[in-house]
Assembly symmetry: none
Homo-oligomer: 102 residues x 4
DNA sequence: CAAGAATTATGAACCC
DNA sequence: GGGTTCATAATTCTTG
């Protein structure tokens, strides 16, 4: 791995990761910065996990309402894609199928 | 296709969505229900994409601050995994304990 | 978890798993049996991993030859499915799309 | 669609498979190549499915012999994971050591 | 048949 | 920017 940080910085990071320094020196600054970064990322990832759970719930609701979840997923994926992309992909698939005599 | 809904249900939906059923109401109900489901899923997925972008930004900020992003990702994965694995190991331990009738 | 084995058996398994017994008693028989099972499964899984690697190589070859790997995967998945299933799925997708006015 | 092949290449394939190109030979070559690729992948996937069936049989045998299949799966997963995780931990350790210039 | 695990595919991120 | 590796998402399969 090619480190993109200086030896000093590296030392600071390692200190921060291993909680060896607790003073409000420059080391502490780096450690605090790291802690802030980690906290924010973990917070956002938690929110993201919550959203994923919500989405899962809606699919479950759809299933209960009698909709086919697999087709529903296809539908939503389709809406995300550019029309031209979908068309070109289908065209290429047809080409391959014809090539195999399908 | 292996339907995840019963044949009756499938017929029902198909009837509703293709305007075969007698009342105009039930058609509209199913269509509205589908629209609601699709809208909510797409809304939540948009929020999720925004969160992913925010997380990406924080990683970029961390990189600018001199932190090694790869190490950072490993660190966060490790913090997440540790919890999961502690739970997994406890499950396995329980299994063994049960095997011994404890 | 509902154990499907007797307490004696459970004890034997646990012993085997933890290598506490080494004699050719009935414990040893169970341990040998377990070892045989684990060995065979791991052997087959290794073969399966090798096959997966071979398949990956062919996809890489296809890509080098100018084929679109994603479409290729779709094609092969399509050939696995029953024709009637594919048709019914596409029909249902069309129904949903019409329902949304797409 | 985001092509994973260049536009030139794509045009080439498309030409070949749709018989737009001048010679009948190159068409056949591309079609044969595709057929070869699909055949080999399907063959290997069939072997892989057979191996999966064999593995399933062994688990069934283990169950008949009184072993708990779930525990067995956990055991084998654990044996697999341990190797992978030892490697992962060593990687992370190396990163930290490099951070310290060791 | 519903739920959960396990496998597999897709998409993103990093390096060259 | 292209390939490769890794994370996440989805489908499939098994079990209760």
């Amino acid at each position: 791995m090619i480190m993109q940080i200086s030896a000093d910085e590296a030392s600071h990071i390692h200190d921060a990761l291993t909680n060896r320094r607790r003073t409000a020196t420059s080391d502490g600054v780096a450690a605090d910065r790291l802690r802030s970064i980690v906290d924010r990322i973990e917070r956002l990832e938690e929110e993201r996990a919550n959203l994923a759970a919500d989405i899962k719930d809606i699919y479950a609701e759809a299933k209960s309402a009698g909709f086919d979840v697999k087709v529903l997923r296809q539908l939503i994926a389709l809406r995300k894609k550019d029309d031209a992309e979908v068309a070109e992909m289908e065209t290429l698939l047809d080409v391959y199928k014809r090539s195999l005599g399908m």
